[in-house]
Symmetry: C2
Subunit: 546 residues, 2 copies
């Protein structure tokens, strides 16, 4: 035990970070969240309630002091939240953040190895969430996601690995571009990136020390993490989930954050979880290309999952992204499979296999990027990336966007953010709108092993995607299910590239075919598809009486 030093504490102040997502963000306007000016004893459900305490600043508070709090609400049946970890934020300030999941009165009491931080009590009130606050996202219906308030969440993510490590104006541009984009998830690195197109020092580092590689790994730099939090909150205001990548291999021993000793790794994880888990839009992505972090073994990653699952009281989504070697995604600590596969979403049948294997949501978080790099992973045509998104959806899975046009090497969206130049985002947005109007349970394969083009909700809603086929027409036919007749359907013709939806007149009455595997209509009516690629059909059940 270190000697107990004298100190004063000034105030217990409460900070409600509203984090309310807004539909669009003006590019020239910084979102005013994550600032400590908003003191209040009220907080929204799923908002961030913060306790700030003054405590010792000498010694090394990052490792010397343990601090946590227990939270209870008025409802005796409610599960109390115990051992919410606090953290040291520099300058003698300690904070404990809490995301309440129930409305009404709450109380807390702190526990600490330091007497002056121990036994602090307080009360606050949790009010209804704002309109665009749906709570955190979790797994729903085995293969899909939903917000805590019941709203479905369909991930349509993009990739801006190092956007928070760019100049301030670049970060503003990125947020403005995201606000106008169809994307509701961003994959982003915590640590800075040293890699092709990325050889600049950031303005702030996660540890105390001297760049490039003299760090005191026992002392975090609060300024770095405050910036990270502000960025996460800004995304939250845009309704965007922050898929935070906790480790990555793009360091090349420049800073060495890819090969810290195990105790530093573990301390970093506990610190970032204590700081950020109260932000409802946080997802934990343990790594990008985990298998390229050569200094770590698979058991390190197992341990990281355990630390996060234990320390994060809210069970935010947990995943790990691979290069060539797929992690054991079967582990119950992995909430969804975050997969890099350069070919899986070229084919619905490929993309679907991992659903059967893992029985959890499959997010193809790297499927190659729209762009014009020399590298094969960065030169997809926009049509190809849109095709891959549709294949992922028809497979009952999800894909993530990335863009790598090299014209301006300091603003490649995939890493720096700034400006989206590609043609795929608009089409991805078009797809997203279709999915959000579809069944809230999510899109699932209808007759796998037989009909790879058709997905949806059995008996009610079908998307039929023709991909690169160029059919002149389509004869009405659907995979059979045990349904009572009449079986009446309406059909919309979708041009996925030109973004048009054309409803057909009339209703298709169909019956079970003799082979009992398909439904068909009596006169075998056809639908004109114009011989073009990238066409789809939306077939919706009509339940009114004939």
């Amino acid at each position: 035990m270190k000697p107990l030093h004298n100190f004063t504490y000034r105030i217990v102040y409460l900070v409600a970070l509203t984090l309310a997502p807004v539909a669009a963000l003006a590019a020239d306007k910084q979102p005013n969240v994550a600032r400590e000016s908003a003191k209040s004893d009220q907080v929204e459900q799923w908002g961030v309630f913060e306790i700030a305490l003054k405590g010792p600043a000498d010694g090394n508070p990052f490792v010397d002091v343990e601090l946590s709090a227990s939270f209870t609400n008025g409802d005796a049946k409610a599960v109390p939240r115990s051992a919410i970890h606090g953290f040291y934020d520099g300058d003698g300030t300690y904070r404990i953040r809490f995301m309440p999941d129930k409305q009404g009165p709450w109380e807390y009491v702190t526990t600490s190895t330091r007497k002056e931080l121990d036994g602090r009590r307080g009360k606050f009130t949790v009010i209804a969430p704002a309109k665009n606050n749906h709570g955190p996202v979790s797994v729903r219906n085995t293969y899909h996601f939903g917000y805590a308030d019941g709203t479905p969440y369909y991930p349509f993510g993009t990739t801006c690995y190092a956007w928070i490590h760019q100049a301030d104006d670049a970060q503003k541009e990125t947020l403005a571009a995201l606000a106008k984009s169809p994307f509701n998830k961003v994959r982003m690195l915590v640590f800075p990136k040293w890699y092709a197109y990325n050889r600049r020092e950031p303005s702030v580092y996660p540890f105390e020390g001297t760049p490039p590689n003299h760090w005191d790994l026992t002392r975090f730099n609060p300024e770095f993490f405050r910036h990270l939090e502000e960025s996460v909150a800004q995304l939250g205001e845009l309704g965007i989930e922050a898929d935070l990548i906790l480790f990555h291999p793009y360091d090349e021993r420049h800073w060495g954050f890819d090969h810290m000793p195990a105790d530093a790794d573990d301390r970093y994880l506990r610190y970032i979880v204590a700081r950020l888990s109260a932000y409802r839009n946080v997802w934990w992505s343990l790594a990008n290309e985990y298998d390229l972090l050569r200094a770590k073994s698979e058991s390190d990653w197992d341990r990281f999952f355990e630390i996060i699952a234990r320390d994060d009281p809210y069970g935010h989504l947990r995943s790990i992204h691979n290069c060539r070697l797929i992690y054991n995604q079967t582990s119950p600590l992995v909430t969804h499979a975050s997969i890099q596969d350069g070919a899986a979403v070229e084919d619905v049948g490929r993309a679907e296999i991992l659903r059967d294997v893992y029985r959890k949501p499959i997010v193809y978080d790297e499927v190659k990027y729209e762009g014009d790099l020399d590298q094969r992973w960065g030169n997809l045509k926009p049509e190809e990336l849109v095709f891959r998104f549709w294949n992922a959806i028809i497979a009952g899975t999800y894909a993530t966007h990335g863009e790598t046009y090299k014209a301006q090497p300091d603003q490649v969206w995939w890493s720096h953010g700034r400006v989206l130049q590609g043609q795929s985002p608009a089409r991805i947005g078009f797809l997203r709108k279709i999915i959000e109007k579809g069944p809230p349970e999510g899109i699932n394969p209808i007759d796998p092993w037989q009909d790879m083009r058709t997905a949806g909700k059995r008996g009610e809603y079908y998307l039929i995607y023709f991909g690169k086929e160029t059919p002149k027409d389509w004869t009405f036919e659907l995979p059979a299910t045990k349904l009572a007749e009449p079986l009446d359907f309406r059909v919309d013709v979708i041009d996925t590239w030109n973004m048009t939806i054309t409803p057909l007149e009339g209703v298709f009455h169909c019956t079970l075919r003799p082979d009992k595997y398909r439904y068909a209509c009596e006169n075998r009516p056809t639908v004109d598809l114009g011989g073009k690629p990238y066409m789809a059909l939306r077939v919706t059940r009509v339940h009114s009486d004939r």
Copy 2:
């Protein structure tokens, strides 16, 4: 404890089952193995050494008596084999079977809960294996298999679920057909089958009792198991692995073997493992379509894997086959993934995904069958099944054959065996010969995510398969690897359906292309492929000087 009864024991006799695979078996000649006439104190390495002891016949010896033996050989460094379980074989006879893995002198001593079976000692000599005895098969090079003597084993299996439950002459016909076939593995059920085309009572049942469903599940019927063992030994003589399916759902509550209580399941597993694990060609397939055995939960299957892994001293291959729900094949108790997927091998890219997921051999043990059933799983054209076999191989995996021509409903090969009528076996045999002449390490994808047609061994051996494409020609080009030049290759053109291999004259000299992803030749020479489907190329490195 039950009272100890008086009895006599007659003899400790040793039975060496030679099990030597022979190239072909005359249809009219029963293989003379698994008979107790071959008494000897010598046994081949990987043969079956058997101790037979007389013991109590009263009470219920199947549950009352524990018997095992420890085996040691002269080499002090050799691992002793302890706790080899014995079993009761009826009529007061107890047996302990042992498969020695080292040549030289061995000793054993028995342990039993019955004094008269306890402390029995003996010696025997293990001699060199016969020419066609390569030992048991285990996993090799992560994705492949090999015999214990180092010979590669490439599974080219077929499916005769209920062949041992047919009339005697049918079983002889099946063995004769197998002897002439290209197949070196048979998937077969232990319990009889009650299903479409399979509604006959077998001549013998696994338990004492009265058919169809009055069984004493605590008393096995040794006759049933002796017949099973003889069948396994007969396959062994043909060089065929017996992929024994321990549970299956094709019972429809007729006999009830699909929903026995847990203690009966476990006792059955321990009994069959004690009886059969000394047979070197046994593989344990826990189930066919395990997820259709509705009375069992996944934890039952977990327990079954544990029982078999614990009781089988030789670690025979262990797998479990699914219908729709894939078991957790990541478990270290699963030696290889035995997968039913009706579509995975339609596409190399699909088939390959499970390699990345499981990092163990992938055997697609049900890929639909060549036949003409109304059911979609049983009406593949022969071309389609051969296509699927090639896709599996190019993906670095394996497929299993099945045949379902319904002309004679009591001799559908898939279940009854008897006669192979299809056109795929000859082509599968042609493929097997090619693979057996290929790299002993097995065929692996060369440039996944980019080139799905090419597999083999980097820098040395490539198979390029065009499947249903009908290219007129092919421009010489290979995925690049870090190889020192000169890079000289010879090319054979393979017609996989017409079973021809045409070597091309001359050598292709190639260099790295500017994009660094491919090798190509200077004048871009082409190879004529005739515009036909199902063509392949074999490209082999030439190491001699130019």
